[in-house]
């Protein structure tokens, strides 16, 4: 069997080198590019992201990442968002009083965590969604988070979709969305590429699922 091909979307944000290496480590054939054709054709697309919601959206739009993601999802082709790359999948972000439209794949708003210590920085466990593919075998492990903002609720999706999204939660001050699995679209608030062996296991689960589609 040939290795699943993965494109890590290169739009000037995120510690892309780590993401590339972590995916190679789990057996994917990885290309770092913003080329729309390559991003459309790969078995999987990874959308990394660090920093501010607004600047990540600007960066994404600059390489037409929004269209690339939309088209892939419309065709049922897998996409994995990481950290702010997950946050932009929601309807909007509120940072420093600035409201920024997201990609709107899911309803809801990303806003500031309400906890005594912010950023939420370090290793934490999650409550995996029942039947989660991503967390299969690493249900009780720690993952590395670093973020000040999060989706603190997950409103129900309209439109009578057949399969509701599987939402994995974590807690910092209150509950927030740690990961979502929603058909071809998956995302994690934490950094699997920085989460040691547990993160590698999760990425293996995702990469393996690419070939099963």
């Amino acid at each position: 069997m040939t290795s699943p091909s993965v494109v890590v979307l290169d739009y000037g944000f995120g510690n892309v080198r780590s993401a590339v290496r972590a995916l190679e480590r789990v057996g994917a054939e990885v290309e770092l590019t913003a080329d729309p054709h390559a991003a459309a054709e790969a078995d999987g697309l990874v959308v990394p992201g660090v920093g501010a919601f607004a600047s990540v959206m600007t960066g994404l739009r600059a390489v037409r990442g929004d269209q690339i993601i939309d088209r892939r999802l419309a065709g049922g082709r897998p996409v994995l968002g990481i950290c702010v790359g997950m946050q932009v999948m929601f309807g909007a972000g509120e940072e420093h009083g600035v409201h920024t439209e997201g990609l709107g794949e899911w309803p809801g708003v990303v806003d500031r965590l309400d906890a005594p210590v912010v950023p939420h920085m370090g290793w934490a466990t999650v409550s995996p969604a029942e039947g989660s593919v991503l967390f299969d075998g690493v249900e009780d492990e720690y993952f590395y988070f670093v973020h000040s903002y999060a989706a603190r609720s997950f409103p129900p999706l309209g439109g009578g979709r057949l399969t509701p999204p599987s939402v994995t939660w974590a807690t910092h001050g209150g509950p927030f969305v740690a990961a979502v699995e929603n058909g071809p679209l998956a995302a994690t608030q934490f950094h699997p590429e920085k989460s040691g062996d547990a993160g590698a296991h999760l990425l293996t689960n995702w990469v393996r699922s690419l070939k099963e589609r």
Partner: protein, 256 residues
């Protein structure tokens, strides 16, 4: 589901080599930062910190290579500090593979640097490193602690607690508080200073300086540290990262 207290080994790197002797019989090259980082990762380090003590810019270039090679092999967060003077330095380190960057002296000289870095890259990449000591001579500061430079040899008269608070207001996402009084003593972290800074900053706080026994790490976590950094006790094999984490776990403190 509370966030785990992090244990962080720190490596001093000069021209791409680890300085301050490291003593592991089973390492092929104990002077290679990549090999050491790999070793600490395997022991359960939650993060690795490199402190670049290179004097020349040519030697710093070597550090970028080391950061890159480490990031290719070690899949836990990597923080690099030492000699960071501009947003360009931060950019270079992040591109090389660092996840976070420590700023120290340059931010004291020009606090706006903190804001510039936070605005361009986000607070989460910016660790404010503070080398502080109790004021012994010179005019007292409000907290009794002052910021030092030159490895603790020069006092600045700047109040250390106030500086930490100001830097966080300017955008620092984390504070690394290094006690120059405790550093090298192995008599324990400066818990009073830690508690004083904990009072005024709502970002993660890393305790550094003075670790000698696993109990010292427990005491610092109880004093409010989110992360515990040490160098020589790990390098000389006095204890392993795993030993420290076991002690923390036994004390009821969450660790990975």
């Amino acid at each position: 589901m509370a966030v785990a207290v992090r244990v962080i080994p720190c490596l001093d790197v000069d021209a791409g080599r680890v300085v301050k002797g490291v003593n592991f019989a089973d390492l092929r090259d104990a002077g290679d930062p990549v090999e050491l980082a790999r070793r600490y990762d395997a022991e359960g380090a939650d993060e690795i910190t490199f402190l670049d003590v290179s004097a020349s810019s040519g030697d710093r270039q070597t550090t970028y290579d080391v950061v890159g090679r480490t990031a290719e092999e070690v899949f836990v967060p990597l923080t690099v500090g030492g000699g960071v003077r501009s947003t360009e330095d931060v950019d270079r380190l992040l591109r090389a593979g660092a996840d976070k960057v420590g700023v120290n002296t340059a931010a004291i000289a020009r606090p706006d640097l903190v804001q510039e870095i936070a605005q361009r890259f986000g607070s989460q990449v910016l660790v404010l490193s503070v080398d502080a000591r109790r004021v012994v001579d010179g005019p007292p500061t409000p907290s009794g602690y002052e910021v030092t430079t030159h490895g603790g040899r020069q006092g600045t008269g700047i109040d250390a607690v106030t500086w930490a608070r100001q830097a966080v207001e300017l955008g620092a996402g984390e504070v690394l508080l290094n006690s120059m009084d405790a550093d090298g003593t192995t008599a324990g972290f400066d818990l009073e200073m830690l508690a004083a800074v904990r009072e005024v900053v709502a970002v993660p706080l890393i305790a550094s300086g003075g670790a000698g026994t696993p109990e010292h790490f427990v005491a610092a976590a109880r004093a409010g540290a989110d992360a515990l950094l040490a160098a020589s006790v790990f390098h000389f094999g006095v204890m392993t990262v795993a030993d420290v984490k076991q002690h923390l776990r036994d004390a009821g403190i969450p660790v990975r």
